[in-house]
Symmetry: C3
Subunit: 137 residues, 3 copies
């Protein structure tokens, strides 16, 4: 089933958060342990009061793309944070905030959603990652 999956999540637009949630949920479903490290705009999206906000889409989405994504959401596609919650219930998904990004964004751990399991430094991220793949989104 492969190694654990290590994911540095930097981007905080709804399309990239959805793509990340699909990759995380899929990894959990096939029995891979997932370790997520939140930086910058992804970390901002994981604030407790920000999960349901409109985080926009990648600049390249265009008007037609925006409409299709909105229609998929209206048709009942799970939101990215709902998909992550399901993945955490199903498998081993550990989500950590990057301590340096916490400083840049002036956040406290109490500002974050309960989807986040704690704060860690980049050295800790690598020590856990071992030989596994590292994906940056």
């Amino acid at each position: 089933m492969g190694d654990s999956l290590n994911l540095v999540l930097f981007s905080g637009t709804d399309d990239k958060l959805q793509a990340a949630a699909v990759l995380i949920a899929g990894a959990a479903a096939v029995g891979r342990r997932v370790h997520v490290f939140l930086q910058y705009w992804a970390l901002a999206a994981f604030q407790a009061d920000a999960l349901d906000a409109d985080h926009g889409l990648s600049g390249e989405s265009g008007e037609a793309g925006r409409r299709l994504v909105a229609e998929a959401a209206a048709a009942g596609q799970p939101r990215w944070h709902e998909r992550l919650r399901q993945a955490k219930a199903l498998g081993e998904v550990d989500i950590r905030a990057c301590s340096l990004s916490m400083d840049v964004l002036k956040l406290q751990e109490s500002d974050l959603s309960d989807l986040v399991d704690g704060v860690e430094g980049v050295a800790s991220f690598y020590l856990d990652a071992g030989d596994g793949p590292i994906v940056f989104i």
Copy 2:
């Protein structure tokens, strides 16, 4: 020569598609098997009637960057989809559309370029990826 290379292609701008095509062709040239999984805007770019469209550049390219990329194209640099076709002729390059993204974009398999070898779910992507690196573009 290393493991197979697994590439989740999300972005559909011409500069990222070109960077992805260079990485895929290079991997094929050194004998690595390549497995590409198309999501969102990259999948949109692989529609049969979209290959030659202008997909724009990353927002950060700037005016000078846009001019240099246009000059490289005019000077005969292969387009990203030409480079991919060469890579498929040269090595083992398997390109699959993400089934969830097909639903979001309301696409049928018959809408896609013949560069795409089929549609698969994320679980199938991981089962094939095994311990190999996973790159998100």
Copy 3:
């Protein structure tokens, strides 16, 4: 401590360069060898006269994000290229410019910062990467 870390650096905005520098410095600090391959807008940012330029932020940063990043810089957070220089002094960090991107951007090796150790092709990148993770930023 895991394999070497192979990083394809494509993006040249200050937030992604900073995220990359944090990941590179962290890898060097835990004893991982780091191999960086510069493409497109990241390569443009490594020109000798461009290191200190304002490279902007990802389109998604928003006004509040821009202000927080500026405040972190004013509060003494090391700039991305300073962090990279520290990482090169501390560990084994090899930075190479992609030869194809050099052609697109019409650059000579003498245009590049001394942080860059040379120019290489994509085949050379893979031969060095072996089985290690490959991260695209």
